[in-house]
């Protein structure tokens, strides 16, 4: 018994050493072998940052898992009833250990606080990280986003290479369509975006809740009827991406997907201009471009953030002409 007690911490010290070594190896292997391939890829600045966040979380999570597993590995090989280990001791020493408990609580608290601070910084610096921020986003990319949005709503916005591009995403059972307010508000089922451009997605729905998930862009925003859910991304190089609905929206939810492409700015402008011309007759029949298209009871349609800057509170201006 005395022998046990005098060396009671020796197992823990060995476990900690093994843990430290394995953790470093696993983290390094992950960072260089798996990290560059993690979701959602690096097509946009947003996606690149989201991938970075995911990888940093993995770097923190792997040692935690490794630590517990190391401990169990040790317990399996040393502390079984069939092994020749020392007899367990009860009493106060086995009931609590102030040092161990304090270390556990302190280190897990520090880790958790650090992760929360890191997540918040990432969220702010990456302009909402591609997530839907609702009608009045609080973390906007550089540039005149508000002016572009207001102009889009008034039908006075234009686009030329280098400028911010507003795009409207309309979820409906069961497909996504896209309107380009800077090109006369034409509606298409193809999502084509210019490279090296800040994109403002305005996501809404005509019926139930959908979720616009442009996987490779690092963008996800719920499409709610009566709500303009705004999300940002910054495209870099060219490439294809997939769009899927990630909120159950009825029986054909599984079939609600299509693909899109980031193309060069000049190609985009050609495509948009020609599509605008080709669909002009159709566009004339569409409702006037608005942030939402569902009817509402009193002009407020829920009235989320009515005092914000991006969508000044005027029912007609905010939510468009009533559909009757």
């Amino acid at each position: 018994m005395a022998k046990n007690n005098s060396n009671y911490g020796s197992d823990l010290r060995k476990i900690l050493w093994i843990w430290a070594v394995i953790s470093i190896i696993v983290d390094v292997l992950f960072w260089f072998l798996v990290g560059p391939h993690m979701a959602p890829g690096r097509l946009t600045e947003t996606a690149k940052n989201d991938q970075m966040d995911l990888n940093i979380l993995m770097i923190c999570a792997l040692p935690v898992i490794v630590g517990v597993w190391t401990y169990w590995g040790w317990s399996l090989t040393h502390w079984g009833a069939k092994q020749n280990g020392p007899e367990p001791i009860g009493g106060p020493a086995a009931r609590s250990n102030l040092k161990v408990q304090t270390w556990w609580i302190a280190s897990s608290s520090v880790l958790v606080l650090a992760l929360a601070i890191f997540g918040t910084l990432a969220l702010i610096m990456d302009h909402g990280s591609g997530g839907g921020e609702g009608p009045n986003p609080v973390w906007m990319p550089d540039g005149p986003v508000t002016q572009v949005e207001t102009a889009a709503l008034n039908g006075t916005a234009t686009w030329s290479p280098g400028k911010i591009l507003p795009v409207q995403v309309i979820g409906q059972q069961w497909k996504f369509t896209y309107r380009y307010p800077t090109f006369g508000g034409f509606e298409t089922q193809q999502l084509i975006l210019p490279a090296n451009t800040t994109i403002v997605f305005n996501v809404t729905s005509l019926d139930v809740i959908h979720s616009f998930w442009a996987y490779q862009l690092g963008v996800k925003a719920d499409a709610n009827p009566g709500v303009n859910d705004v999300a940002f991304t910054e495209t870099k190089g060219t490439g294809n991406f997939e769009v899927r609905c990630s909120e159950l929206c009825g029986i054909w939810h599984g079939a609600m997907y299509n693909s899109g492409a980031v193309v060069s700015q000049s190609t985009f402008q050609q495509w948009a201009t020609s599509t605008q011309a080709a669909t002009a007759a159709n566009t004339a029949l569409l409702p006037k471009f608005a942030w939402t298209y569902t009817p509402d009871a009193n002009g407020a349609a829920g009235g989320y953030y009515p005092d914000g800057n991006l969508t000044p509170y005027s029912s007609v201006q905010v939510y468009g002409a009533k559909q009757s």
Partner: protein, 652 residues
């Protein structure tokens, strides 16, 4: 502190049944109230309610024109539930009191038929719950098999998209309902009085009510299928909810009905723990499983009313055209999302805490060591319960509501991993330098720790808003909550059954079959759900019947593993049948050498649990401590009958 003789008990009622005055409803035999009368009355209640609903509402234009009468359906199902409760006898006592009549206490029918009756004995209710949750689990599991069958191939479909959406929704709802009660119901009801040295629960009738309402909820949620199902998943988001057909009624009413049972069970267990502890059972001597039951019961009591009301609002929207969730008429679909998750996140811990409790309760027994950091464990459970009310918006990070709240909900959500982590501190500390006996319950406990570690760590990923953009609404989150609920709670349930069934039934579970069950369940659980993390990271959304063709390999791997995982439950069922009926082996009085109070009463447990209420002298974790004090003073030893214990008193 007074001891047993002065404590009011209901022993008189069970020792001396008033044989001459037994009303017909409580006699033994067929001419009485039992499962059969409940079923007949439920059917009659349905027909009556449905007829009445049609009678009052069929002429309203919006109903006449729609071809479906949700009012008739709602009243029909409500009539079914009321008929069921009347038929089983749940309402005899309150109705008699209501009209001012003398209501006799329920007499206990002896023999196996008591399991088919309205019994106020917590041990009968516990075993009824075992059967009830297994029924839920197996039907929900069959639906899961159907889902994995559909996902074997991205383009060839076994079911139509409508059928598939119904299967997915029914699977999720049934499993969530089952999981609310899987441990609280069977083990909580059975063990809490035994562990705290009580002869009864605080409210035996409410306890029986909670079980029979739980079964009524099962009938209501399955009535969705003949009604054509519902396609909203278990989350039931509006406006899809508003758009859905009559199957949605079953969902909304089903949650309201099962919510009644959850509130009743939680309230009863919380009051019992607070008020019915034996003398000397101070808060620092309460077994850790009882702490977890207290935390869970508090959540059941406080969170479920929100679900109940939310369900009723939805029913009103669908029947009498209110607009709680209808944006076009001034309501909001966000209201449902908020109410649902305000309940839904505490619900997550309703489904996690009991598992922690079982793990922490069993570890000392199989490590032969005291529970490490008992106070940290208890405070961790209470901390989780409190914090779980402040995190619900992490389910709505991409929904478009108030973005400025996201950092706060990210912080609270990540903070909840601290008290959860306490359980690991307790687990690892208890194992330190132990002599671990790798018995079946211990294997399941270790599996729980293994699975919940992955489930918990991935939960931190989901709480990080930037990462949430990638993983929300996909297979990653699906895998995450299967790791916590199935990997945690269900493994804990199995640990608890293998551990306590010898006490509850007097039979040992077969060890060889149990090992096959464990290894199949553990290995194929991980092989089913781990690939789903990768599937999710590669971009597959939840609840889809088709997916990218390059994901077929992973999906097929998960499906085949899922079928084998399903098979492991058949092995478990076989073990139950084999060990309880085919080849029963009598269990020793204390097969695991536990110091817990529940093992110190006679086996089988007498109707009134303890002949004399024990006086608790210390906590039940003095393992490997020579000269440790005895757990309790039984005043003449367990099983020694003394008439002093019987004082005249009726259950409230």
């Amino acid at each position: 502190m007074t001891i047993s003789a002065e404590r009011p008990t209901e022993v008189a009622a069970s020792v001396a049944p008033p044989a001459s005055k037994t009303p017909w409803t409580q006699r033994p035999g067929w001419m009485s109230q039992h499962l059969g009368t409940a079923m007949v009355a439920a059917l009659l209640g349905y027909l009556l309610g449905h007829w009445f609903g049609n009678y009052v509402s069929a002429n309203y234009p919006y109903i006449a024109n729609s071809g479906q009468n949700n009012i008739a359906n709602t009243l029909g199902l409500t009539g079914m539930v009321l008929g069921w409760l009347l038929g089983i006898g749940a309402l005899n006592y309150p109705l008699a009191k209501l009209v001012g009549k003398d209501a006799p206490a329920e007499s206990e029918v002896e023999g196996w038929s008591k399991y088919f009756r309205y019994s106020t004995n917590h041990k009968v209710v516990g075993l009824q719950y075992v059967v009830g949750v297994i029924l839920f689990m197996f039907t929900g599991g069959l639906l899961a098999m159907a889902i994995r069958t559909e996902l074997l191939n991205p383009t060839t479909h076994v079911f139509g998209p409508g059928t598939y959406a119904e299967i997915v929704s029914e699977h999720g709802t049934v499993m969530m309902m089952m999981a609310t009660s899987i441990i609280v119901g069977p083990l909580g009801n059975y063990l809490v009085p035994l562990m705290i040295g009580s002869r009864r629960m605080a409210f035996p009738r409410i306890e029986a009510f909670s079980f029979w309402v739980f079964v009524a909820g099962y009938m209501v949620i399955f009535s969705a299928l003949p009604y054509g199902g519902f396609t909203t998943g278990w989350t039931g988001y509006a406006p899809l909810q508003t758009q859905n057909g009559p199957g949605m009624i079953s969902y909304l009413l089903g949650f309201a009905v099962i919510g009644l049972g959850m509130m009743a069970a939680g309230f009863n267990i919380a009051v019992t723990i607070i008020n019915y502890r034996a003398p000397g059972m101070t808060w620092s001597r309460v077994p850790i499983f009882v702490w977890s039951m207290l935390a869970t019961a508090s959540l059941l009591t406080l969170a479920t009313p929100v679900l109940f009301s939310a369900g009723l609002f939805g029913l009103l929207d669908k029947t009498v055209q209110t607009a709680f969730y209808v944006g076009e008429h001034g309501g909001s679909s966000y209201l449902w999302e908020n109410l649902f998750w305000f309940f839904g996140h505490p619900e997550v811990y309703i489904m996690a805490l009991p598992g922690f409790g079982i793990a922490a309760e069993l570890l000392p027994v199989f490590t032969r060591k005291p529970l490490f950091a008992y106070k940290v464990a208890a405070s961790g459970m209470i901390g989780v319960a409190l914090l779980s009310f402040f995190v619900w918006q992490h389910h709505l990070f991409q929904s478009g509501i108030n973005p400025d709240m996201r950092p706060l909900f990210m912080l609270t959500t990540e903070m909840i991993s601290l008290p959860t982590g306490f359980i690991y501190l307790v687990g690892l500390g208890t194992m330190y330098r132990a002599k671990i006996r790798w018995e079946l319950p211990m294997l399941f406990v270790m599996a729980l720790f293994f699975n919940f570690l992955i489930g918990g760590v991935t939960g931190v990923f989901l709480s990080d808003v930037p990462v949430n953009v990638t993983v929300h609404g996909g297979f990653f989150v699906l895998s995450h909550f299967h790791y916590t609920i199935m990997g945690g709670l269900l493994f804990a349930f199995m640990a608890g059954l293998y551990y306590w069934l010898p006490k509850m039934t007097g039979r040992m579970m077969n060890k060889s079959i149990g090992k096959v069950h464990f290894w199949m369940m553990f290995v194929f659980f991980n092989l089913t759900f781990f690939p789903m993390f990768i599937i999710g990271l590669l971009g597959q959304p939840r609840r889809v019947f088709t997916y990218a063709s390059n994901l077929q390999g992973l999906n097929d791997f998960a499906s085949i593993s899922a079928f084998l995982l399903g098979t492991s439950f058949l092995v478990f069922a076989w073990n139950l049948v084999y060990s309880l009926w085919i080849n029963p082996v009598k269990a020793p009085a204390n097969p695991w050498d536990s110091l817990g109070l529940e093992w110190q009463t006679a086996s089988p447990v007498p109707a009134h649990n303890f002949d004399r209420i024990p006086v608790i002298l210390t906590d039940p974790y003095h393992y490997s401590e020579p000269g440790a004090p005895a757990l309790a003073d039984f005043g003449g030893g367990a099983g020694a009958s003394t008439s002093a214990a019987s004082t005249e008193s009726n259950p409230a």
